[in-house]
């Protein structure tokens, strides 16, 4: 959990300024052209935009009273996708995690009575009013379900369902009709595999990720406690998430709230991989496509606290690849930066809502890398990655196709 900024004093002073937060981990580097790992620094170049600048200089100076809040300081700490690349790189050498400090800076800013900069103020205001980041009412949370079998609709009764497996849909289908398909695909895959699954429908609440990322720690706690109580009361055993933001929040942030969670959190790609292995999903239809796969940060290096790969946890890297390799006709070509070294899509930490230009620039860079593989399609599984990368493809008139992974699974069934 994010602590008070002053509690990170040791880390802030001891940032060695060795620039490991800026680059792909040395042993993993394959190509000098794809060495950058920090989107913000790569875009703006000044060290203030690097994690070492934010943690080792600005946070440290704030703690020691050397600097005061300014518009520029707010811009620097909020213009960041919090993609966790710096946490991975710095973490495996010094065991420090700069994004925690950056989030503590955000929390301090709000506590000091400041508003987040750019479009984030409106974003936070909307979130507080509607309890979701898309200015939609709870009744609209079921709009995405049109066309789905009635068996799933039974689960809409929310607390009325007796299922032990809950599909937590997330807020993203509220964004716009184009986002609904991802939720429909997820539900369809589970139904086709014969999973007895329920959803919360109108009763579903935001996981609290947007509040936490904006620095509104108190609101996040309220979301978390309410959700944990609801899930515990329902007696669910397995919480299946679609959106990686939700997954990361349930998986790494909820346990630190201090409430006992009587359920397991799994991501639908883990679950789908398991269903394929168990023979409950039979992928027999060829989908002839050369693809490359983009690892969402929230399924990877920031899907848990700790350093990915240590044995304590590893990102959800193999399940999506296992699934792709199970679909007949799919050929997977990796980008140079993959898994823990993946380049963020640019939508991390809701960056599109605050700093669209940076989010778009970051996505453009990822599309360039995807294209360099020679793949004809880019596959991922995150509504935010898909929105940002998909928009980059359209904006640039790129010929690359964009798929969510479960769409391909459904094509292969």
């Amino acid at each position: 959990m994010i602590k008070e900024l002053e509690e990170y004093r040791h880390w802030c002073w001891n940032c060695f300024r060795d620039s490991t937060c800026k680059h792909v981990f040395t042993w993993h580097l394959k190509n000098a052209d794809y060495d950058d790992i920090c989107p913000t620094l790569t875009r703006y170049k000044f060290d203030a935009y690097s994690s070492q600048g934010k943690m080792g200089d600005l946070a440290r100076a704030m703690i020691e009273g050397e600097i005061e809040w300014s518009d520029k300081l707010l811009e620097v700490i909020y213009q960041d996708p919090l993609c966790g690349a710096c946490d991975y790189n710095c973490g495996r050498i010094t065991e420090m995690q700069p994004t925690r400090v950056i989030q503590a800076m955000r929390a301090k800013a709000l506590k000091d009575g400041l508003n987040p900069p750019g479009g984030f103020k409106t974003f936070l205001d909307d979130l507080r009013e509607y309890m979701n980041p898309f200015r939609k009412h709870d009744a609209e949370r079921i709009n995405w379900m049109k066309g789905l079998p009635a068996s799933l609709a039974d689960g809409i009764s929310g607390t009325g369902t007796k299922t032990k497996t809950l599909l937590y849909v997330g807020c993203f289908p509220l964004r716009d009709p184009s986002a609904e398909k991802m939720a429909q695909d997820a539900a369809t895959v589970l139904i086709k595999a014969g999973v007895d699954v329920g959803i919360l429908g109108e009763k579903e609440r935001c996981c609290g990720n947007p509040s936490l990322r904006m620095g509104d720690v108190d609101s996040f706690h309220a979301f978390a406690k309410e959700n944990i109580k609801m899930f515990n009361d329902m007696g669910i055993e397995k919480l299946v998430t679609i959106c990686p933001f939700c997954y990361s929040t349930f998986k790494r942030d909820y346990p630190e709230v201090g409430e006992k969670m009587n359920f397991e959190v799994v991501h639908i790609l883990e679950f789908t991989d398991e269903l394929i292995t168990q023979g409950k999903l039979k992928l027999t239809k060829p989908v002839n496509l050369n693809v490359t796969y983009h690892d969402p940060c929230h399924l990877g290096r920031i899907s848990d606290y700790g350093i990915s790969g240590t044995g304590a946890f590893s990102g959800i890297y193999e399940p999506p690849r296992n699934i792709l390799n199970s679909i007949p006709g799919i050929t997977l070509t990796e980008m140079d930066r993959n898994r823990d070294d993946s380049w963020c899509c640019g939508a991390g930490s809701w960056l599109r809502d605050g700093y669209l230009e940076l989010a778009q620039w970051t996505a453009d860079k990822r599309i360039e890398e995807a294209e360099s593989t020679g793949a004809e399609a880019l596959v991922t599984y995150c509504p935010h990655c898909e929105e940002n990368l998909g928009e980059a493809i359209q904006r640039n008139g790129n010929k690359m196709k964009m798929y969510d992974l479960l769409d391909l699974v459904l094509q292969g069934l």
């Binding site: 580097l29 190509n31 060495d35 203030a48 600048g53 020691e64 065991e95």
Partner: protein, 510 residues
């Protein structure tokens, strides 16, 4: 405070997006992990914060910026990654521009015929290694610092690599340099100065100027904007990927050996014999303290194993490369085994697993700087000389340990680098300290000063003050005042206005 018209003039050179006088931006160029920078932050010394940060993208832009700086009496500190251990890139007076070279990050050419690479200053070890290794070449070494460090800045600050046995100190790698002098003129060195000659050779017409600008010039006389580096054959094939966390595979066609010795003397004898036998690319002496600090996954585990004495107190490691064939590897192994047998060493193959980070770090450093986890590190004592100095260096280190409450990280034996087939050795004793604890940092600093002051020995080049204050760093105090006069005269020739990184090489009296 930079006058608006000066700001505008520089902005016209680099573009408005690549210049900033914002206090938040400037703040991030005011501290590093070395004592001078740390102490300035504790004093909240405003002179440590530059007035301007500028990011040029080309040689022409560097020329433009330094000309303006020279004209208006501003100071210029070139900085690439800035991860030096001497606060070289921290300003020391008002009116300073931090010239951040991040945008000059191109590998301009890798010439497989001449075995050279031409690079801009913000090219890291990792990037040049990734590109050259694909071609069966490499730059010949890596520092015990992250591979994200700038290759060129490491070299010109006398970067030292574990592979110095075969490839020498980093400076041996430079074929030639292109520099922007403080007046904006371009100076080229080496064969590149001869039209159509090529840039593969370090000597050009007339006296060789390269040395003036490479060895610890500390950005004090020019901005290096381009360099051609020598490359060496790489026997390792495709760089092996880490499949198990913290356990990178050893590159192909290489063998690594850990040999334990009961004491320093037989260890020295072995290092001398191995170095002069012509085998191996890497030869170093290591202690329990060093090894635990660098190889263990967590600080907690490293501390535990250090105190337990998990690794030998006196150990050498050797890496052999099969550059011509696997028969070379077999032959070199036989030679090594004979030497180890004759010198009473014991092979410790059982350490391979626990020291596996070395399989990567010896060639392309990823985790070597883990020993800084406590906060920072400082060399308490550094010395260069014949291998036989090892014992006396060790005893002097122990003497320092006895006089201070702060500890030495590698109390058992200094870290030893063997250079250039045993021509000389570098001994290094270090400490680590928590930067956030003023008392601890001060105590480490006192120990550091003591370590460098109490050093006289006739045949040992003490690298005095190197980790304390960069002025005339590489020479110990016993060099005498003439060194300062000599360097001052050179500085006066190239930088009479003291524009470049003032106070770091030598301070000119204005």
């Amino acid at each position: 405070m930079i006058e608006p018209h000066v700001y505008q003039a520089i902005a016209a050179v680099v573009g408005p997006d690549f210049i900033s006088d914002d206090p938040m931006v400037r703040q991030t160029y005011s501290k590093d992990g070395a004592f001078p920078g740390i102490m300035k932050r504790y004093k909240q010394d405003p002179s440590a914060i530059p007035d301007l940060v500028v990011l040029p993208a080309s040689t022409e832009e560097v020329q433009g910026v330094v000309r303006i700086a020279n004209r208006y009496g501003l100071k210029v500190i070139p900085i690439s990654t800035g991860a030096n251990m001497v606060s070289l890139c921290i300003p020391s007076e008002p009116g300073t521009i931090s010239l951040d070279l991040k945008r000059m990050d191109k590998i301009l050419e890798i010439n497989e015929d001449t075995m050279t690479a031409t690079i801009q200053p913000y090219v890291s070890f990792a990037r040049i290694q990734a590109e050259t290794m694909k071609r069966g070449l490499w730059n010949g070494g890596t520092p015990l610092a992250p591979g994200s460090c700038g290759l060129l800045s490491n070299i010109i600050n006398s970067g030292t690599w574990q592979s110095s046995l075969a490839y020498g100190v980093g400076l041996r790698s430079i074929a030639n340099l292109t520099l922007v002098l403080p007046n904006g003129d371009i100076l080229k060195t080496g064969s590149a100065t001869i039209p159509a000659c090529g840039n593969f050779w370090c000597q050009g017409p007339g006296p060789d100027l390269k040395g003036i600008f490479e060895f610890c010039n500390h950005g004090g006389m020019a901005v290096i904007v381009e360099a051609t580096m020598k490359l060496h054959p790489w026997a390792g094939g495709e760089w092996p990927q880490e499949t198990v966390y913290n356990r990178p595979p050893l590159p192909a066609n290489h063998r690594i050996y850990y040999v334990e010795y009961p004491d320093i003397e037989p260890m020295n004898e072995a290092m001398y014999e191995i170095a002069h036998s012509g085998i191996g690319t890497h030869l170093n002496g290591a202690s329990n303290g060093w090894v635990t600090g660098m190889t263990q996954q967590t600080e907690e585990l490293a501390e535990k194993r250090w105190h337990e004495g998990f690794f030998p107190r006196h150990m050498i490691y050797v890496i052999n490369a099969g550059i011509s064939s696997t028969r070379q590897l077999d032959h070199e192994e036989n030679v090594l085994r004979d030497i180890v047998k004759e010198t009473g060493g014991k092979f410790r193959d059982d350490l391979n697993e626990e020291m596996a980070t070395w399989h990567g770090d010896a060639f392309r450093d990823g985790c070597g700087s883990r020993f800084q986890r406590r906060g920072s590190f400082s060399s308490i004592k550094l010395g260069c000389g014949h291998i036989d100095n090892h014992r006396e260096f060790y005893e002097r280190s122990q003497d320092i340990v006895m006089r201070h409450s702060h500890y030495m990280f590698d109390e058992e034996t200094p870290w030893v680098y063997i250079f250039e087939r045993g021509y000389y050795a570098l001994f290094e004793d270090d400490t680590v300290f928590d930067q956030s604890d003023y008392e601890e940092a001060s105590s480490a600093r006192d120990m550091n000063i003591d370590g460098f002051v109490r050093t006289p020995k006739q045949d040992l080049l003490d690298l005095g003050y190197y980790y304390m204050e960069p002025v005339l760093t590489i020479y110990s105090p016993r060099v005498g005042p003439n060194a300062k006069h000599w360097v001052t005269q050179i500085k006066n020739v190239f930088d009479p206005n003291d524009t470049m990184n003032p106070g770091k090489l030598v301070r000119l009296e204005q």
